[in-house]
């Protein structure tokens, strides 16, 4: 979150939020640019579809704009942004529980022998895509709380302290939940990570 402290024009994030609260659209756009990748990234980890994630992220920023007056600087702006994004994504998932139009492992074609002969690079790319598809699929199978903490730590790269503030958890709980989430994912991904590796 720290890299979002200064905008493109060098203005302090606190000042930008204040300006945005007074209706300055440019300041708000600067805030959108500072956080768009993180919000989109978080959304895509849950819906696995770029267009849907893009829509969700836009809705998150509309919510942020509508609620700007309620932000009282009691937490970091980034923490508040993440909290709104997480709540919005949770609402979306609850409403679209049965819709499964996301990327699936079956959508990625198997590598054929002749493909490998034609282009080794293409085959490697396909293998990479299959690995990622499997990752998304396995992440989707996990309980929401584990998926969320893995997304914030291992994909978004947030610190334990930041995750604790966003999810309102103690550092100890962040630590143990993250460990349980990783262990579960590692077991699910065992076929692509190593053959027969891991604990018995």
């Amino acid at each position: 979150m720290t890299e979002a402290k200064k905008s493109e024009n060098g203005m302090d994030e606190h000042q930008m939020v204040k300006l945005a609260q007074r209706g300055d659209e440019e300041a708000f756009t600067a805030l959108v640019k500072a956080y768009q990748a993180r919000v989109c990234g978080l959304a895509i980890n849950f819906v696995h579809n770029r267009e849907t994630a893009d829509d969700l992220a836009q809705e998150v920023f509309l919510k942020i704009y509508m609620s700007l007056q309620k932000f009282r600087f009691q937490s970091e702006f980034g923490t508040w942004v993440y909290q709104i994004a997480i709540n919005h994504i949770r609402d979306y998932l609850r409403k679209h529980k049965k819709e499964k139009d996301d990327l699936r492992l079956e959508d990625i074609p198997e590598i054929k022998a002749e493909d490998k002969e034609v282009s080794l690079q293409l085959a490697e790319n396909q293998e990479e895509e299959r690995r990622k598809a499997l990752l998304w699929q396995k992440l989707e199978e996990m309980p929401e709380k584990y998926r969320l903490i893995l997304s914030l730590r291992d994909i978004q790269g947030l610190s334990y302290e930041e995750i604790g503030k966003i999810l309102k958890l103690s550092p100890g709980t962040v630590d143990s939940r993250l460990h349980r989430a990783r262990r579960l994912l590692r077991k699910k991904l065992a076929p692509v990570l190593s053959q027969g590796g891991g604990l018995k």
Binding site: R183, R186, L193, G197, G198
Partner: protein
């Protein structure tokens, strides 16, 4: 060290949150446990795979501009938002005040006033003096006495009801 404990320490190692003492214990375990050494490699691969997911999470082009366009169409000017907020707060307050007023009006409604015979006669455009005059003009004294008695009774009745 048990393998389960080693796995917990591996998770901490990935986040560079492992203290020197624990790190030394883990390294000693990894040297003698090929299963956990493989586990460390698996976790490293998994972390790499996860971090690669971040690269794909870049927003679609012109994201901020599209948000700005949606704000222009979907958000209302703040003055309307403020008016709407005021309206939303004012409606229940108004309803509460109206209910209190109606209740007060129903509770404190004055009881119907008891009019005296003289007032009734005045409302009927008849002078109360005429009745008095009729009593005094009565020729027979017993009739006059009776009329006076009834008039007295009527006025006492009115006073009683007025109380």
């Amino acid at each position: 060290m048990k393998c389960r404990k080693a796995e917990k320490l591996i998770s901490k190692l990935l986040d560079e949150r492992l203290e020197e003492k624990s790190l030394a214990r883990l390294e000693a375990h990894l040297k003698v446990c090929p299963s956990c050494a493989r586990l460390l490699q698996d976790y490293k691969k998994m972390k790499k795979l996860m971090s690669e997911g971040k690269i794909e999470s870049e927003p679609l082009p012109y994201f901020a501009e599209r948000v700005k366009a949606r704000l222009a169409t979907e958000s209302r000017p703040s003055i309307w938002a403020a008016a709407e907020r005021w309206y939303a707060a004012a409606v229940p307050i108004f309803l509460v005040i109206a209910t209190i007023l109606v209740g007060a009006l129903l509770l404190f409604q004055p009881s119907p006033k008891q009019y005296s015979q003289a007032e009734i006669l005045l409302f009927q455009n008849q002078s109360p003096l005429k009745e008095t005059q009729a009593i005094f003009e009565e020729e027979k004294p017993e009739n006059r006495q009776l009329k006076l008695l009834f008039a007295g009774l009527e006025s006492q009745e009115t006073v009683r009801r007025g109380k």
